[in-house]
Amino acid sequence: MQAYWTLVRRELSAYFFSMTGYVIIAAAMFLLGLSFVDLLKQLRHQPTPMPVTELFYMTWFFWLILVLTTPVITMRLFALEKFSGTFETLMTTPVSDRQVVLAKFSAAMTFYVLLWLPLLGCVLVVRFYTNEPAVLDAGIMGSTFVGILLLGGLFISLGCCASALTRSQVTAAMVSLLLSASLFLLAVLADQLPAQATWQSQALSCFALFDQMHDYARGVVDTRLALFCVTATLFFLFLTLRIVESRRWK
């Protein structure tokens, strides 16, 4: 346990010891700001019964931030250590492979959550100017953040996996971007195609992340998304673990 926390601290601080962390935060805040401007414009025209988080989700910036930042957050996790050789010093200390994978994933998740905190600020601003207490509904805020966390877990575990595959950070980022974009496109496809009774359509409906996340932004906690994200996250973490272990049987 001690090794786990030590590693989490180290990984998390590494984001702030280099420019990467600040650049990612700045980029995410810029996109969040843009989406917020968009959101305020909509609010000016007519009153809406939609919660602010749903309005935010409807601007599509959510997906842009998710798909663009997660590869950059995760690319350094394993690739940099393998490149600089510190992976060897790490793996020759008495830590288990599982601890390493989990610690890196946790650190990336924590950083990812930090990235989304400004959203809270945006909502507070809306609350301040509209004088509408319903804006800050704890349930809706909670479910939105749960959705953000679930999807984040999926995309970050995907990035971990990509980073464990290679020594090059650029390759890691490209691979995870490719995978995330494919997942995103599948979601688009599931959204666009009409629902049918065929198995293909049924399978595709599992990837209907748009609708499901929309529910979360509205305050509806949909177990389908939770189940999908958690299993996929566990799957990719397991895959990462196997890749890390592979040096033992390769």
Partner: protein, 315 residues
């Protein structure tokens, strides 16, 4: 402390280490010596539990490095080749991080970090960022990291590579000071280094062990058939007859030298030292003798001698 038996490591198609067996006793400083690509680093990586062996077993302190990997890793301080470090951390931060990672409690890690920083001469750079340190200091940080959890066995892969002579000297002194409390295994391709620091040397070449002994024994082994060179002013025929009837001489070669001297290269039988006899002979005959030397083989010669035949076979 270390028992390696029939260790083999194959990478895709290449055999990096083939069927080596050696052991290291507690408190020894053993040098793994060999040219680049001899399989030293691979052997060390296996010992440190980073890579698995293709076949054979490695036991450290009686524990199997593969099956009881975690226990073994607790007992080892390992510094890989090129000494990779986190360049964004300060020296103290890094050592503390490593100490905690190796399972030291908070208070203990603080104490140990102070001790190893003192031991490795890092106390005055403890607040510096590792990336801004000179190579010599970074090497010391790597050493301090290997020592921080008081491991019984310290494995250092080329600890003095890329250092200037003064730094090399201080690192060597540090390594020497580790024995007999710690067992040390270092790899190097620099002979004087092994000669100076190690109690025992294992010479590797192309994945095999060619020789393993103390530096003195290796030297003795090699000097056993070392030639004696004598320059004597005497008629060549007489010299010839003289050497031919001496039973201790296995082989001799006479060539003309400057003046009326002849240069005789005498190879002894059974590693005898021929010098007193040659001197006695020259005195008895009244021949002027102007040089009498015995070739002293340095480890460098041994190294070349041991590793060359294989190279020629390959060609």
């Amino acid at each position: 402390m270390i028992e390696v038996s029939n260790l083999t490591k194959r990478y895709a198609g290449v055999t990096a280490v083939s069927n080596i067996t050696f052991s290291v006793a507690r408190g020894e400083i053993v040098g793994l010596l060999g040219p680049n690509g001899a399989g030293k680093s691979t052997t060390m990586r296996i010992l440190a539990g980073y890579l698995p062996a293709s076949s054979g077993t490695v036991r450290i302190d009686g524990l199997d490095v593969f099956r009881e990997s975690k226990e073994v890793r607790r007992r080892i301080g390992y510094m890989p080749e090129n000494n990779p470090l986190h360049h964004d951390l300060r020296v103290r931060e890094y050592l503390k991080f490593r100490a905690r990672l190796k399972g030291l409690r908070r208070k203990r890690s603080r104490e140990r970090v102070d001790v190893v920083m003192e031991q490795c001469g890092l106390a005055h750079v403890s607040r510096r960022i590792i990336g801004q340190l000179s190579k010599g200091y970074r090497q010391r940080v790597g050493l301090a990291d290997a020592l921080v959890h008081e491991p019984e066995l310290i494995i250092l892969d080329e600890p003095t590579i890329g250092l200037d002579p003064n730094q090399i000297r201080s690192v060597r002194q540090l390594i020497k000071s580790l024995s007999p409390v710690h067992t040390v295994l270092i790899s190097t391709h620099i002979l004087p280094e092994a000669e100076m620091t190690c109690n025992r040397m294992v010479i590797m070449y192309e994945g095999k062990i060619l020789a393993a002994d103390t530096p003195e024994n290796l030297q003795r082994l090699m000097s056993s058939n070392s030639q004696v060179i004598a320059e004597i002013a005497a008629p060549q025929a007489e010299l010839h007859a003289c050497w031919a009837q001496l039973p201790e001489i296995e082989q001799f070669d006479i060539s003309a030298s400057q003046g009326n001297y002849f240069r005789c290269a005498l190879t002894p039988r059974d590693g005898l030292d021929l010098r007193p006899q040659v001197f006695e002979l020259a005195r008895a005959h009244g021949w002027p003798l102007r040089e009498l030397t015995r070739n002293h083989h340095s480890l460098e010669d041994i190294f070349v001698q041991v590793t060359r035949p294989a190279e020629e076979d390959e060609g």
